[in-house]
């Protein structure tokens, strides 16, 4: 009980400071509206359906891009680890694109896929692909040779080994890579939505900010942060459930 209370203490302190600083005119209230004003604004955004409409739009685009990256990334990563010829071809491409800031691709995606959902999904997909490929590749490469040989000696075909041994064997690394991708997906989606478009949480933030509705803008920013936080928490639970075979 005490430990839990202590854990939330910094949050409570932050909230108090946030509320008091503008009220006591320590900071400009238009630069940092009091937390209660932000909360009021959040409530009206919720009642008006702005958060629901933009939130659902954002989450759908995020899911499409992320799931696409997970499926394609795992497939490519396993193929690279399993087939040397594929490895020779793909590894230099992966190495070259790895250090590139993923957000630099957003304008390219807008150019190719337009101002709507297409460019958002593509931005998330492109940004999340590499971490999934690399973690899958490393996971599949790290599997003990003897485990693969054991499966082969028990009568598994090469394809069965790939599906039934390499893939589950690489799962701890894959899941860790997907967690990175999940965090990246929020960054890329909001960045893309801030740039162009007429829906999504990023759009809501820039729309309210441009209109001078700063308490609303903060409410939208906090909402996105909460989305990200809860998505990560849920994912951690899922990860723990998937890896319960580990000590």
């Amino acid at each position: 009980m005490k430990a839990a209370a202590l854990r939330y203490l910094p949050l409570v302190l932050l909230a108090i400071v946030w509320e008091l600083a503008p009220r006591l005119h320590l900071v400009d209230a238009s630069a940092l509206p009091p937390l209660t004003a932000v909360a009021r604004s959040w409530f009206s955004l919720l009642v008006d359906g702005d958060i629901l409409f933009n939130g659902v739009s954002s989450l759908l685009n995020l899911l499409y891009g992320l799931i696409g990256a997970i499926v394609v990334g795992i497939a490519l990563g396993v193929l690279m680890a399993w087939y040397p010829t594929f490895d020779v071809f793909a590894t230099p491409l992966v190495r070259i694109s790895y250090p590139m800031p993923k957000s630099a691709l957003i304008p390219v995606m807008i150019l190719w896929f337009g101002l709507g959902a297409g460019s958002k999904i593509a931005s998330v997909f492109m940004g999340c692909l590499l971490p999934v490929i690399l973690s899958t590749y490393n996971g599949a490469r790290g599997i003990e040779q003897t485990m693969i040989w054991s499966a082969r000696a028990l009568g598994a075909s090469r394809w069965q080994v790939l599906r039934e041994i390499v893939l589950p064997g690489a799962m701890p690394e894959i899941l860790a890579g997907v967690r990175n991708a999940l965090a990246l997906s929020f960054i890329l989606l909001v960045a893309a939505e801030l740039l162009v478009g007429q829906r999504g949480m990023g759009y809501l933030i820039s729309f309210l900010g441009d209109g001078g509705v700063y308490d609303g803008m903060f409410a939208a920013v906090l909402t996105v942060s909460a989305f990200g936080f809860f998505a990560d928490r849920c994912y951690l639970l899922f990860m723990r459930w998937m890896l319960q075979w580990r000590e």
Binding site: E144, T146, W149, A151, R152, A153, L154, G155, W245, R246
Partner: protein
């Protein structure tokens, strides 16, 4: 022995180890060796002599570059359920429970569900792990893990059992118990066993014959019969015959171990 030949025949098997960097090294030099049906043969030699490589070639895990290996007259071209293998590192599937590990090979063999559940149950009884059927490998001790690996391999009933220093990672007491358990299992369902080890006592105690290998490049230096009186148990370890055999084999291995050590420096 008929024309087809029973057991395993190694005929002038060579293997060259090719590291990514550096020069290729001849690891096995014209190994010729016959293993009789239902014989327990130990491959004894210093580390790096290629004894495990020879076992992997027999398992079909690596291509045979020159020479040939046949089992019951058929050339080895790849892995198969007629040759089961047990590794020092256990090589269990950690995301599967003990039962699922043992079931895996039976599923690959296409055994009907009820039958494979029954067979798995029997095998877990054989290795005294029925109580741990639903545990994951990470929850087991080293000795228990190796018993699961043995059960998994025996489940598909291979005619030939390959063992790659299977008890090398276990403490001395566990190893002694595993020796007795393995001999008991072999008595119940005899198999042709090729057992790789660098432990002289282990080789003498378990095997019918011991093939001593030289330091790199691996050659068969001498083959020593270590057949025990029928039904001999662990009391055999106390007899002068046992001590004599160990002494003789140690003499053969010692020179090679020294050579292997010098080569490593």
């Amino acid at each position: 022995m008929g024309m087809g030949g029973s057991g395993i025949i190694f005929d002038e098997v060579c293997h060259t180890y090719r590291p990514r960097r550096g020069r290729p090294v001849l690891a096995l030099d014209k190994i010729s060796l016959d293993v009789r049906d239902r014989e327990f043969l130990a491959l004894l030699g210093p580390s790096g002599c290629g004894k495990s490589t020879l076992l992997y070639l027999l398992g079909g895990f690596m291509p045979i570059e020159s020479g040939s290996i046949t089992t019951h007259g058929k050339p080895v071209t790849g892995p198969g359920p007629d040759r089961g293998i047990v590794f020092q590192s256990f090589a269990l599937f950690p995301w599967k429970t003990v039962r699922q590990n043992v079931l895996y090979g039976l599923e690959k063999q296409g055994m009907p569900r009820a039958e494979r559940e029954q067979r798995t149950k029997e095998l877990l009884e054989l290795v005294h792990l029925s109580a741990f059927a639903d545990s994951y490998p990470s929850q087991l001790s080293g000795g228990m893990k190796q018993r699961v690996a043995i059960a998994r391999t025996l489940a598909v009933d291979p005619g030939i059992l390959l063992m790659d220093e299977p008890f090398g990672a276990l403490d001395a007491q566990t190893r002694a118990l595993m020796h007795e358990e393995l001999l008991a299992i072999m008595q119940r369902s005899p198999k042709t066993v090729v057992f790789v080890t660098h432990d002289v006592r282990e080789a003498v105690y378990l095997a019918d014959r011991v093939a001593v290998m030289s330091a790199r490049p691996g050659r068969i230096k001498e083959i020593v019969s270590t057949e025990k009186p029928a039904g001999a148990g662990s009391e055999f370890l106390q007899t002068p015959e046992f001590a004599e055999k160990v002494e003789h084999l140690w003499g053969l291995v010692r020179d090679e171990a020294i050579r292997a050590q010098d080569a490593a420096h």
